[in-house]
Amino acid sequence: MHQLLQQIFSGLAAGAIYASLALALVMIYRATDLVNFAQGEMAMFSTYIAWTLVNAGFPFWGAFVITLFASFVGGMAIERIVIRPVENAPILTAVVVTIGLLLIFNALAGWIYSYTLQEFPSPFPDRILFGALMTTRDVGVIVVTLVMLAALFFFFRFTPTGLAMRAAAQNPESAQLCGIHVGRMLALGWGFAAAIGAVAGIMVAPVLFLDPHMMSGVLLYAFTGALLGGITSPVGAVIGGLLVGVTENLVGTYLIASQLKLTVALLLIILVLVFRPNGLFGTAIVRRV
């Protein structure tokens, strides 16, 4: 029983990490209909920016805010400069561009910061909770992820900019006719996603340790979680991420040897998707003839 609880809680802790990056993926997808393969590397790069600031003497929260702002601006810049030229190109072209971005960010981080592992400070003290089931840092990741989720939910539902963004993504032509500056909405979407990614990276770095490959593995899990939950739903992203974390742990402990747990976990998730092809909370895409 204790094992089971341990595995579930570890799964939740890992799942929160996936969920935080999944939120960024969902953000970009909702804004631009594109899966950004470079999301993880962008988050990692933002984290390195924060690390540089902290090492230069900035207090943690100061570095945090600056990094968030820098990432937001950076994300917007990337959309305008890198993605804009292929906006109207076939989807695969844009996908290849994000793959290129992935390589560039990874290589840049390795070049500037070397591949040596770095420590990253955490705003939360290092304490063990619930009788060794979780640490304060794990709880911190979960709490911050939920806060981001709430903020996103509020933003999309109740603010005019959020509404404009949803409109621009769903129907660019009509949105433009309504006076919405579609280009600006796309850039905003990328900016927010980059900021979310930065938060994810900063929360995760104390747990996973900072190196250029910190987010490489996480991206796959975040992608899976986002799709399981429904690529258009932020709530789905979080629940999906948590589910992926817990499922993989339970599969690895009770179902199959650790060497195959990712494979089996993915199979199970795909099985779920067979019955819900748009994810648990996603909206079905209606095709008009």
Binding site: S10, Y115, E119, I128, L208, D211, G217, T253, L262
Partner: protein, 406 residues
């Protein structure tokens, strides 16, 4: 017109013959060697998931630069050509063929990784090109009878696992052992080495094994599962990132096994400190080389020389990386072997010199540990020493142990 054409043709042919001639006035030369230059080839993962090992190649290059600045080896400069194979065996084959057939290098030095080395193993031996000081700890490279052109350098992972096995058999004969290993040849070598070292007690003593992939974000689940097996001894065969996570998680869940940590993942700066220094007290490891982040070596002259070298060659960001210390030692070994060749720079002689190392000392190796090779023994470093972590530094204990291999 005809005569001119004939003469030009004859001159060209003569020139071609001279250019490809390999015997020179000064001595015997193999391909890639001239009076002024020795061409060395290498493949390293500078990109991709194994890129953290790329520092090896960078350190080699910097060291050879330094040697060249000091006048080279017997007056010849080292032309070090290192290419990025991203740890992908098909790419390694392509690049090594390019190095051997296009660049005409003298030898392949320290190609990195077991799968990359396996993919070029028979090609290099068939073409009689030295595959010298492979940068991998797998056991299989010490086979001079079948592969006379391939030589190891690192103490093999199997030897290290044997050392742990012997310790356990002697001091913890009733242990229940759990093993956490990276799911590739490196991790598997530890598991298999432990099994071999425990002999027929292995199946009884090893009660649980868990593996992880380098793409796994965390290994918490594996650690929790291993605790659940009731083991009281844990062997962790993991690279620094995962070793740090393991040390931390084991402590956080309240598990206090006798913890053996492999040499690749025992760095104070990269593993013990990020995990939390107090969480690693009592962990046992083995080593053959100085840990650059261990305070005990700060005043050692060899260590200080290495730090000065790293700083003056733009590598100060990697001073905490033990891979950098290892790469440095590799390069020193090659320079020594090449020096011993004198002017007889043929591939045969290089292998001969490399197979005649006797108590060769290197500044960053632990005192008492030396390189030894012979015609039947292509594993230069077979010694390690056990050490225990005391919360600040690794305390060596016991004697230098000679491993006996698989």
């Amino acid at each position: 017109m005809r005569l001119t054409r004939m003469l030009t043709g004859a001159l060209c042919a003569a020139g071609l013959m001279l250019a490809t001639s390999s015997v020179n006035a000064a001595g015997q030369y193999g391909p890639g060697v001239t009076d002024t230059e020795i061409k060395i080839g290498n493949t390293n993962p500078y990109s991709g998931p194994a890129s953290s090992y790329g520092i090896n190649g960078k350190v080699h290059a910097a060291y050879f630069n330094m040697i060249n600045e000091q006048g080279g080896i017997n007056g010849r400069k080292i032309n070090y050509i290192s290419r990025d194979d991203a740890y992908s065996p098909p790419k390694t084959v392509e690049l090594v063929r390019q190095l051997v057939e296009q660049d005409k290098v003298f030898l392949l030095f320290a190609p990195l990784g077991t799968p990359p080395n396996m993919s070029i193993h028979s090609y290099l031996n068939e073409n009689k090109v030295p595959q010298l000081f492979v940068a991998t700890g797998a056991d299989q490279w010490n086979d001079p009878k079948h592969f006379p052109w391939t030589m190891m350098w690192l103490p093999s992972y199997g030897i290290e696992a044997h050392i742990y096995a012997n310790y356990i058999l002697k001091n913890l004969p009733n242990a229940k052992i759990a093993v956490l290993y990276q799911n590739d040849d490196y991790g598997k070598d530890y598991l298999n080495g432990l099994r071999a070292g425990l002999g027929d007690k292995a199946s009884k003593m090893i009660v649980a094994t868990q593996s992880y992939e380098t793409t796994d974000p965390t290994i918490d689940s594996q650690v929790v599962a291993l605790q659940g097996s009731g083991a009281d001894v844990l062997l962790t065969a993991a690279i620094p990132k995962f070793a740090a996570q393991t040390v931390r998680k084991v402590y956080d869940i309240g598990w206090r096994p006798t913890h053996f940590l492999n040499s690749v993942g025992n760095s104070v700066g990269l593993v013990m400190k990020p995990a939390g220094l107090e969480k690693g007290v009592g962990i046992i490891s083995a080593t053959y080389i100085m840990d650059p982040t261990d305070p005990r070596w700060q005043n050692d002259p060899g260590y200080k020389e290495w730090v000065a070298f790293m700083n003056s060659h733009g590598l100060s960001g990697s001073i905490t990386d033990s891979q950098a210390a290892i790469g440095y030692s590799y390069a020193q070994t090659l320079v020594e072997v090449l020096k011993r060749c004198g002017d007889d720079l043929t591939r045969e002689n290089v292998m001969k010199q490399a197979a005649s190392l006797h108590n060769l000392q290197l500044p960053l190796l632990l005192p008492g540990i030396t390189l030894n090779t012979s015609a039947d023994d292509f594993d230069p470093i077979k010694q390690m020493q056990l050490q225990k972590f005391d919360g600040t530094t690794w305390q060596l204990f016991g004697d230098v142990i000679s491993g006996s291999g698989t």
